[in-house]
């Protein structure tokens, strides 16, 4: 990866998740120069935090490995991490984008040898694991991290801990004087692929997320199942570390709900169906899943997967939006509601409740610099008013991975159309 100078034939991609990486790589492999901006210290985004994909139950890191290999071998993509777009000026074919880059305190000399991590003692919350666990204040963001370079948590800068890290590094990779800087990047087109965030489950008051430790979100559950996660891949419940064998999955936690998200987030049904597999995988004996749902939306080719899970005797489906969750004296969350098929009331205790939280576009509520038209849910709309700023992936709609990648590939073409015109005009 050599650095190239961005021009108005460059495509700027905002967001280094699977959509952003796809858009960047597809454009670069078609011969275009790309600057890829990611706000986290490593690429990968939300999918890299998943344990498995539905419906194949394959591992997202597998595709990430391929994408990273594509990236490492492609000099046309310049990656900026810890970077956020703070302003876009100009118009189609001629944008100047301001990018705010936060200090990593570690430069490219880093070999990821890990000596700084061993030297530092301070622990900080680990956002890669949704703060379910902690890591050292000198850390590699995750096992697949690209750039494969450590990061110092800003909280230790100016403390003896930072000095310890610096002293431990034999390669002059730690630079405690790094400052936040804003750089300007020229671009002919911009692809906005900032993805989604899980809906804030604490807002769904009856479910007691935040009040009851054993009520967690679906994205957190992924981390519990993942070998790189805070429990080393064991499904242990947060309150007492007990094995959570009897797991409830609550669909539409935030989605299809006018008090929260009006749209259907599309992926959550499939995600829960997939997660019943984790329960079965980790507890071949005694694992039990209950899915509380309104409609199971196993759309198109995914129907098979639903039928397979339906045939599984350890999985129970209850057509019901759970009304509320309480906690019993052993810390078990208890679901209250009515099975609307046949009107059966239930108050059922589980070891763990997993809320299938909805998808909220990351751009919602954030002031996107420059003008970008979005719908009332905050998803970026295809609108001529957006000029050559194109949405991609979950920033545009609630999409599964496959559709997000399609969307990103399409966005790459739209951007290429713009820069090709620029190139033609300049030739």
């Amino acid at each position: 990866m050599t650095e190239h100078v961005a021009t108005n034939e460059t495509i700027l991609v905002v967001g280094g998740g699977i959509s952003g990486m796809t858009a960047a790589l597809e454009a670069a492999e078609t011969g275009k120069n790309v600057v890829l901006v990611e706000k986290n210290p490593a690429l990968g985004g939300r999918t890299s935090q998943l344990y498995r994909y539905f419906p194949k139950l394959c591992h997202p890191t597998c595709g990430l490995e391929i994408n990273l290999r594509r990236l490492k071998g492609n000099p046309r993509v310049r990656v900026l991490t810890l970077a956020e777009v703070s302003g876009i000026e100009g118009s189609t074919g001629n944008y100047t984008v301001s990018v705010k880059v936060k200090p990593r305190y570690v430069n490219e000399n880093c070999t990821a040898c890990g000596e700084c991590e061993r030297a530092v003692e301070t622990m900080v919350d680990d956002p890669f694991n949704y703060n379910l666990g902690q890591h050292k204040a000198a850390f590699l963001p995750n096992a697949m991290a690209y750039p494969q370079r450590f990061v110092l948590d800003p909280s230790i800068i100016g403390t003896p801990e930072a000095d310890k890290a610096k002293a431990a590094c034999k390669y002059g990779a730690i630079d405690l004087d790094m400052k936040e800087e804003t750089i300007e990047v020229k671009a002919g087109a911009v692809i906005w692929a900032t993805g989604w965030q899980p809906y804030d489950a604490a807002k769904i008051q009856p479910y007691g997320y935040g009040r009851f430790k054993n009520v967690i979100t679906s994205v957190e559950f992924e981390r519990l199942a993942d070998i790189h996660g805070p429990t080393g891949g064991k499904i242990l419940r947060p309150s007492d570390g007990k094995e959570a064998k009897n797991v409830a999955f609550i669909q539409c936690a935030g989605s299809r709900d006018e008090n929260h998200l009006r749209h259907c987030s599309r992926i959550c049904c499939m995600a829960s169906l997939k997660q019943t597999h984790y329960v079965r995988e980790k507890f071949p004996e005694g694992g039990k899943s209950t899915i509380y749902y309104i409609d199971i939306r196993a759309i198109d080719r995914f129907e098979d997967f639903y039928q397979k899970v339906q045939a599984d005797p350890t999985v129970t489906f209850i057509k019901s939006k759970v009304a509320k969750i309480t906690e019993d004296e052993s810390g078990n969350p208890v679901c209250w509601g009515v099975d609307t098929e046949g009107y059966k009331r239930y108050t059922t205790a589980h070891d763990l409740v997993v809320l299938a939280v909805g998808m909220e576009p990351s751009v919602k509520g954030i002031n996107i610099p420059g003008h970008i038209a979005s719908d009332s849910s905050g998803f970026i709309e295809a609108d001529p008013a957006n000029g050559a700023v194109f949405g991609a992936g979950c920033a545009t709609n609630a999409l599964d991975v496959n559709r997000a990648v399609q969307s990103a590939t399409a966005a790459a073409l739209r951007a290429i159309q713009v820069v090709n015109k620029v190139a033609k005009a300049e030739a």
């Binding site: 309104i294 019901s320 009304a323 509320k324 108050t347």
Partner: protein, 210 residues
Amino acid sequence: MSANTAVADKYRNNFLKEIEEQVEMGDWVKMCMQCGVCSGSCPTNFQSAWEHPPQELFMMIRAGKREEVLTSTSMWNCTSCYNCIVRCPRKIPITHIMHGIAEYAHRIGKAPKMQATRFFSVLFWKNCTNTGRVNELKLSLGLYFKDGFVQGVKNGLAMQSVAIGLIKAGRLNPLELFGGHKCKDQKGIQAMLAKAYEIERVRKAAKMAG
């Protein structure tokens, strides 16, 4: 209605339209997506089951089950706790619809005659609109004596300790029986309410006529 037309009306809009026209907030019934969160949120449904919880009533309305809905005791179980309203993902004003269906069933004489809450509800409204203010003693006695004098005495005796407790605490005044709190402009209130009833009657009749 003959049995045949009843069959023909199943899953037709007729009863739904009737509810929309005649019941307060009835035009929300069609918005239900049968998630059941209302049924699961209802406290009385959990203490002692409703025959048909709200979401099921809505489906019955849409399925044209007129008799079953209007003669049901279910909506009379509502305690007006508003749990269903705040949790409904469709923001359907379920509490009001429950009251509304009950009111309509009562209005057209379909409501179960012996339903205690129906009786109390009527009693309460009459009590409070009579003078403009509630007379708690008369209200209680009215309830106890709803099933005749003998039963009334029994009911009263059963509640004796409660009443004595309240009297001792100065929170139940036996003298309320002979007058008690009232508004000054009772006449104005009666006239105003009469007018309100009249307007409402005219409006509902007009809706029925289409």
